[in-house]
Subunit: 271 residues, 2 copies
Amino acid sequence: MVITTDMLMDGTDFIVSEVGPRRAGRKAMAANLSDIAAMAAVPMAVVVSVALPHLATQGTDSPSTFAEQLYLGLRDVADAFGVPIVGGDTNSWASPLVISVTAFGEVTERGAVLRSGAKAGDWIFVTGPLGGSIRGHHLDFTPRVREALALHAAVELRAMCDISDGLAADLNHILEESNCGAVLVAEAIPVSADAVELSRTSGKSPLQHALGDGEDFELVFTVSASDGEKLLRTPPIAGLVKIGECVESGLWLEVAGIREPLAPTGWVHEL
Amino acid sequence: MVITTDMLMDGTDFIVSEVGPRRAGRKAMAANLSDIAAMAAVPMAVVVSVALPHLATQGTDSPSTFAEQLYLGLRDVADAFGVPIVGGDTNSWASPLVISVTAFGEVTERGAVLRSGAKAGDWIFVTGPLGGSIRGHHLDFTPRVREALALHAAVELRAMCDISDGLAADLNHILEESNCGAVLVAEAIPVSADAVELSRTSGKSPLQHALGDGEDFELVFTVSASDGEKLLRTPPIAGLVKIGECVESGLWLEVAGIREPLAPTGWVHEL
């Protein structure tokens, strides 16, 4: 059994006056199921507590509309994974919306995947394109629950994390807990269309967005080299990309064959 | 296994500028363990998510002081029951403090006590004096975890609730879910010293406070008449009081032998 809890707040995780309560609820549920996915567990049940803003600040016709839309958003994602909302606590107050979800998962026969199992020589993969999620993906992503289970059934996942802080930062969490390093290959990192679009105005390159932006909610994980070859030969899921390998120490980005230090913030000197 | 979740907010459940973060944390943990007690389960673990107010509004010297005091308050109560805080999510924002706790409990061999098991003829008990908790008890109460387990070991508890909305309201929850009624005996209801003190200025009687005030966090429960006699003969805990009996329907207060309807708000016409 694994447990995760994540609290989302209006103004921090979403702007409810812009995105509406349904998408806010959607994100709250998806972010929590993403944490269950990161451990390659099967989500079993969730509880949800909310502090609803008072009517005057909800921007909807009635308090039930706001609460119902929020609930529908939570259910949209929970239902997609067959996860019941088994309880909760509903409050209202004169401050912004807060949603707190706690999710329970059951680990498979292989056990939970932690952040601490990566070894030098491991291959590093991600489950999809990265960067620019602020353009909308951070609200509408699908948590990689099925992908994690399919991967964990196919091979032994040694360490895994969902990308919420950014690829470099979340990979660094794995490296710190596993006491090893990593080299990422710049050309191999899958860059999302949103990262490309954002780079037109942001002053950053698409790769910088892919390395540094948060809330992609894809998975980054490591496997042995032989399991990595197996995954490349017969990918159990779509979108799988090898982005680098674990080494003894440090976090590095290889650009055109040259290795540069990569900051855990996704920042690299030479880019 | 039982799960409960409860979200507490500054300005609703406590005024953090008056009571400080330690007592706020204390209450958040105690309220959740009280919900576990209400099912006669053994609390096993909790997760805690918080939205901390920004420093300027914390009224303390440093953010760590505020967060540490809050954590110490959570730990004060969790430690008293040997319950580990196994995870959580820490955020900060420009709005008031929010604390969301989710607690997990293991039921005993007798199973969880629900609200739905009361029957006409059952005796009704409470675990301690009621009313006036706003004077401080609502922050500093001890959740009745040990009492619930001692009672459930001694006899079969048929229905139970912790008193958070008020005796009449919470008993009414039991009656609605059990599809029966109850007669409370006015003279038998244990009135706290706080209820007496509060009645000096509130315009209400001490009994009205005992019936209607929320957040006593004592337990109200029903047992068969024979188990009730057993509890009176050999009380497994201190403070146990028989306050009435279940009947076919209605909620009634008997004052000097005369039965009057009692509103679930604790309000009675004749008082």
